[in-house]
């Protein structure tokens, strides 16, 4: 399935990126107001976009402003409709010529006790042949690569210099709850021009990332993301490699020469999340690197996309998966490719054995809902040019060895006695809708025979675009209490081990996979659909396919109020979140 570019056109809730139907300004002032499951009044006329956030020249032309998969017509019943929200793009009223061009990420090595100034700013960013006004941290996309040693603590002085409230969430870190970056829960949102100082501790080795927790569907998508590499003090923690490289995967939704605007008073693309048609690695649509023949590269992979799940491979070069979100695996494994859901990270080692050009590809089987068929979708994300000169040292022997990590296995062994017990809590993933376009409702009512466990592409972007946070409420439904999302009263004792069962209901109105993220703790995926996980790893994000039941074992050792939510930005923005309170 190839995407074609249609005719030009285009179309806040903040708080934990999440207050449905509440304008940003209101949330900036009111914090968590509206977080307790309040539903938007959909009987009101379309809300006017707040002053200063309507983009001249971006008004809808009532044509189809988003790219459709080639060969797929827009449903006639949707022609002429636009999302029931105001529209937003960064930098209204700012002369783009006054903005700095975004720079590639630069590595900042910090020691225990060091301080970093981190500014979210407007930048100009060239993607392909187009230059857009977007966001960046310290003028970089991705933001600075923060490199620290395990157990370090640093200070980050955050300066919000963008046109929206923001915060910084330190994804995957088991840090002090006060610095988790969740507005209305752990801090107030940082207004434009405001500052906030974070104390960030790094208890675990691995690759982590930072991003706003305010309207991720806008701020993260527009460039606010960066990695943290936490180096273990033990130099033998990983196998020796010739080089290390972070790869950050993202996708932008672009129509011809313009970004597709975002919903202002509520997210749009809420059924599936915004799936971009320009895929980038480290912010570039044509990522390139060079390697020597036989070079072993350790890649730290992060998916910062709003919704897209990737299946990454390296042109047939052998891949060894070493670590996941928060730890190494019990055992290293050879894999044909790496499945990377939003917010997940994996550490893999790849050996480039033969000279030539190696394509880094995302290869998936997309669903063409129009034709009722699967279609291969292969996107080349970048290239590795392997030269004829041999890598030194030669790590072929070490690469061929699949290590067993006794330290990880020993750590996990302490939790095995909890694996088979009954779940402490069961959440069912579902969705509620109201006032969707009739054609969308009718289509969903007739397209009931099959839903894929994982949707790798947006096969119906017209329907998806028109669905907003005013019309769709994604739900974590607590089976025991019947309560939903922020109404769930979830308290656990510090130091306890919590078994959480999550069932992704295939009979909901729009079944879809959800990457569920838990803040501030670590968890094990102990089983999927009753099958015990054979090779465990500590995670903070786990993909829950449609129809699957996944058992998570949470090490609730870190006190505080911690979000659990879907990391599809638009699902989060449409309410799919709750809080686990650890005391």
């Amino acid at each position: 399935m190839r995407w074609s570019l249609g005719p030009r056109g285009a179309a806040i809730a903040v708080g934990i990126a999440l207050v449905m139907g509440t304008p940003i300004a209101a949330v900036a002032q009111g914090g968590m107001a509206g977080m307790s499951g309040a539903k938007p009044d959909t009987t009101k006329p379309r809300a006017a976009a707040p002053a200063g956030h309507v983009h001249d020249g971006m008004a809808m032309d009532m044509g189809m402003p988003i790219p459709m998969p080639a060969g797929m017509p827009m449903m006639p019943g949707l022609v002429g409709l636009t999302p029931d929200v105001g529209e937003f793009l960064p930098g209204k009223g700012v002369d783009p010529r006054t903005l700095p061009m975004a720079r590639p990420s630069q590595t900042i090595r910090l020691k225990n006790g060091d301080t970093l100034d981190l500014s979210a700013t407007l930048v100009r960013r060239t993607v392909g042949r187009n230059t857009f006004t977007m966001y960046g941290y310290n003028g970089q996309v991705p933001g600075p690569l923060i490199r620290v040693t395990q157990s370090a603590t640093i200070t980050v002085r955050f300066h919000n210099r963008i046109d929206l409230p923001s915060t910084v969430h330190w994804h995957g870190l088991r840090l002090d709850n006060r610095f988790d970056g969740v507005p209305g829960l752990t801090q107030d949102s940082v207004k434009p021009g405001g500052d906030f100082t974070y104390t960030v501790h790094f208890p675990d080795a691995g690759v982590y990332w930072y991003h706003p927790h305010v309207r991720e569907d806008i701020e993260q998508a527009m460039g606010l993301f960066g990695n943290v590499l936490v180096d273990p003090p033990d130099r033998s923690y990983y196998s020796p490699v010739n080089r290390e490289q972070t790869l950050v995967f993202d996708d932008l939704l672009v129509n011809a020469d313009t970004l597709i605007p975002f919903g202002w008073d509520a997210p749009d693309f809420v059924l599936m999340g915004r799936v971009g048609n320009v895929l980038t690695v480290n912010g570039e649509p044509h990522y390139a690197m060079t390697a020597a023949k036989g070079e072993v590269v350790r890649f730290y992979l992060t998916n910062v996309s709003s919704s897209r799940t990737y299946n990454i491979s390296f042109g047939g070069a052998p891949i060894k998966v070493v670590a996941g979100d928060v730890s190494k695996f019990e055992r290293e494994e050879r894999v044909p490719s790496v499945v990377l859901a939003p917010a997940e990270r994996y550490v893999v080692e790849v050996r480039f054995e033969r000279p030539g050009r190696v394509a880094i590809v995302n290869a998936v089987q997309a669903i063409n809902h129009f034709a009722g068929e699967f279609e291969p979708e292969v996107d080349t994300l970048g290239t590795v040019t392997v030269t004829g000169s041999a890598a030194t040292p030669d790590y072929a022997g070490q690469f061929a060895t699949l290590r067993s990590n006794a330290d990880v296995a020993t750590d996990i062994a302490r939790y095995r006695r909890y694996f088979d017990r009954e779940p402490d809590r069961t959440l069912r993933l579902t969705v509620a809708t109201s006032a969707l376009p009739l054609a969308t409702v009718q289509f969903m009512n007739v397209d009931t025979a099959y839903f894929a466990p994982v949707e790798w592409m947006d096969g119906m972007p017209d329907m998806n675009w028109l669905s907003t946070g005013k019309q769709v409420r994604w739900i974590l439904h607590d089976e025991a209490s019947g309560k939903e999302n922020m109404d769930i009263d979830w308290r656990v004792a510090r130091g306890s081990v919590v078994k959480l069962r999550i069932f992704n209901d295939p009979k909901s109105f729009h079944p879809m996979q959800h990457p569920i993220h838990l803040h501030g703790q670590r968890m094990l995926v102990v089983s999927r659909d009753g099958v015990r996980t054979k090779n465990l790893v500590w995670k903070d994000t786990a993909i829950i396919p449609v129809g699957s039941t996944v058992d998570l074992l949470i090490d609730a050792s870190n006190p505080g109020d911690w979000m659990l939510h879907c990391h599809i930005a638009e699902h989060l923005g449409a309410g799919m979140m709750t809080v686990m309170r650890v005391r």
Partner: protein
């Protein structure tokens, strides 16, 4: 005119949690198996479970899902009662029947047979001589992958501009 009116129509009201009617299986992983006249008492069902993967979701490098196939069968007579056969064998066949992959032997009760990585496939259980590498014996149970129910909307009124 009708299109415009249809297109602008919205359903108003409170948020509703709606559930979908039963699909042919109970989800994307379930395959009801149907018997043939040769085995009137046979019953069966299969379930697809993602093959072991460090990522939870198992796929090939080109993105095909990889599933272990679990089969639960009952009422299968002794294979020899159907002829010169020693075992029941499960096969995954492409929907045009051009490709057949041997998955493994099936008995009454639960059997875990091999992996399948086709987008759409038929699951066919036949009686075969021991160790048969190709299918030749009579079919006793059969079903289709849930993905085979993926609908074709090429001619659906929704795409032809006709209100439903």
């Amino acid at each position: 005119m009708i299109r415009a009116a249809f297109g602008c129509a919205l359903l108003a009201g409170a948020f509703l949690v709606t559930t979908r009617p039963d699909a042919p299986g109970s989800g994307p992983f379930d395959i009801p198996l149907f018997n043939t006249a040769k085995v009137p008492d046979a019953r069966g069902a299969a379930r697809l479970v993602y093959a072991a993967s460090p990522f939870g979701v198992a796929v090939t490098a080109d993105g095909h899902a990889r599933y272990d196939v679990l089969i639960d069968a009952s009422g299968l007579p002794t294979p020899s009662s159907l002829g010169e056969y020693d075992a029941y064998v499960a096969w995954a066949a492409s929907t045009d029947l051009s490709q057949w992959e041997r998955l493994g032997e099936v008995t009454n009760g639960q059997s875990i047979v091999g992996q399948v990585d086709m987008n759409k496939f038929l699951l066919v259980i036949t009686a075969e001589p021991k160790g048969a590498a190709t299918h030749a014996g009579p079919t006793v149970l059969h079903g289709t992958s849930p993905s085979s129910w993926l609908q074709n909307f090429l001619t659906h009124p929704l795409f032809r501009g006709v209100p439903p």
